[in-house]
């Protein structure tokens, strides 16, 4: 458990607070002092982080997700550089297995000519998987290490931050809009939104229905991943409240089950991305 016997609620909320760098507004009362002007600073508490509002950035989420993304790019690019048509060995085997898996899935779902979708799906799958994988690092290890280095908040699983999952989902959403308009034209896309499922006389109803359906795609992508990982992380945190000699009883089965969940969630995110883009291409 963290620190010198904090209360259970403090412990949990500490673990769920991001390391936030943001702007506190002028007149904000901080540690008894009133700020004279707006100030960019690292939040000292969950309340301060929340009060920073939109003008803030989660340093821990950014660090870990970029670190993991770079790890993905570096290792896969190394394998790609060494890739030959000869007999593959070691890490190249693994990379080719993942690439082949993604390629098969994309080919079975997406039947148009597009050389972005498959690498996009690969990036989503591996990046999300690596982010989720951080969930299997025991919940206190990295935060305690960070505390020794003087960093008081450290949330190591980027996919438990809705900003990270929503960032990806917004990216996918922009691609959906781009390809919808590219394939069907602005008019075609608008017609698709306006003239179905009911005939023309129900245009407002159609528009409402289709736009909700469209917006639901990125929101469901973001919240599904976020919700699953947040809940999983929460269970790990709660398990770590037990006496240390009992924790393995619950944490081991949950971790093993979680291996399935993190892979499945990464796969679902990647596959839904491909499905949505295939839908953007198809004429309805």
């Amino acid at each position: 458990m963290a620190g010198s016997n904090p209360s259970t609620q403090e412990y949990i909320s500490h673990h769920l607070t991001n390391l936030t760098y943001g702007q506190l507004p002028a007149g904000y009362v901080r540690d008894g002092d009133t700020l004279e002007s707006a100030q960019w600073t690292v939040a000292h508490s969950a309340q301060e982080a929340a009060d920073m509002g939109f003008m803030a950035i989660h340093l821990d989420t950014m660090f870990w997700s970029i670190f993991l993304g770079a790890l993905f790019c570096w290792s896969f690019a190394r394998a790609a550089k060494a890739a030959t048509s000869g007999v593959p060995a070691g890490f190249q085997n693994f990379v080719e297995m993942v690439v082949d898996f993604i390629d098969d899935n994309v080919k079975s779902i997406f039947h148009h000519k597009n050389d972005l979708v498959a690498p996009l799906a690969l990036t989503v799958f591996v990046w999300v998987f690596l982010q989720n994988l951080m969930d299997l690092v025991p919940v206190d290890w990295i935060p305690e290490l960070a505390k020794l280095m003087g960093i008081h908040y450290m949330k190591v699983v980027p996919s438990t931050d809705v900003n990270a999952t929503a960032g990806m989902a917004v990216g996918v959403f922009m691609l959906i809009l781009y390809y919808s308009i590219k394939q069907k034209g602005v008019g075609g896309f608008a017609a698709e939104l306006a003239f179905q499922p009911l005939p023309k006389w129900a245009l407002p109803f159609n528009l409402f229905l289709e736009i909700v359906g469209l917006i639901a795609k990125p929101i469901s992508l973001a919240l599904r991943l976020f919700g699953n990982m947040y809940a999983g992380e929460m269970v790990f945190i709660i398990i770590s409240l037990l006496p240390f000699y009992l924790q393995w009883l619950l944490s081991v089965p949950w971790a093993i089950f979680h291996i399935l969940i993190i892979t499945l969630q990464a796969f679902i995110f990647a596959i839904l991305t491909v499905v949505y883009l295939a839908m953007a291409y198809d004429h309805h």
Partner: protein, 156 residues
Amino acid sequence: MNINLTLFAQLISFAIFVWFCKTYVWPPIISAMQERQKQIADGLNAAEKAGQDLEVAHQKIDAQLVEAKAQASQILDQANKRAAQIVDEAKEAALTEGQRLKDAAQSDIEQEVNRAKEQLRAQVASLALIGAEKVLEASVDEAAHKDIVNKLAANL
């Protein structure tokens, strides 16, 4: 669950990672895999073709073997025939030669007999003359009675 600038920062890093993957990771891996797939397919095709070639070669070998056997037996037949012919000829020649030798020997013998007869005849004539001389005690005139004696000798 604070929505803030992190979302846009994540969006940007996501775009960068996707771009990187699309540019540097995906194409070389996929092309290597496709090339390997092609090589394996080519290899399998080559193996299949080699198998077919082998089959053809086996058939050719079988045909040549049959032909060679036929030729061999033909040559053997001819050789046998020729051998029999040579033996026949030799036999013929031997018989002819034997006959010739026999004839020559016969004629030699006959000549010898004749010569012996001549000698005998001559000797008999002289012996008869000597005998007659002895009997007649030189009363016979050799010149006068020579004809008679010769006649006698010729009748022997």
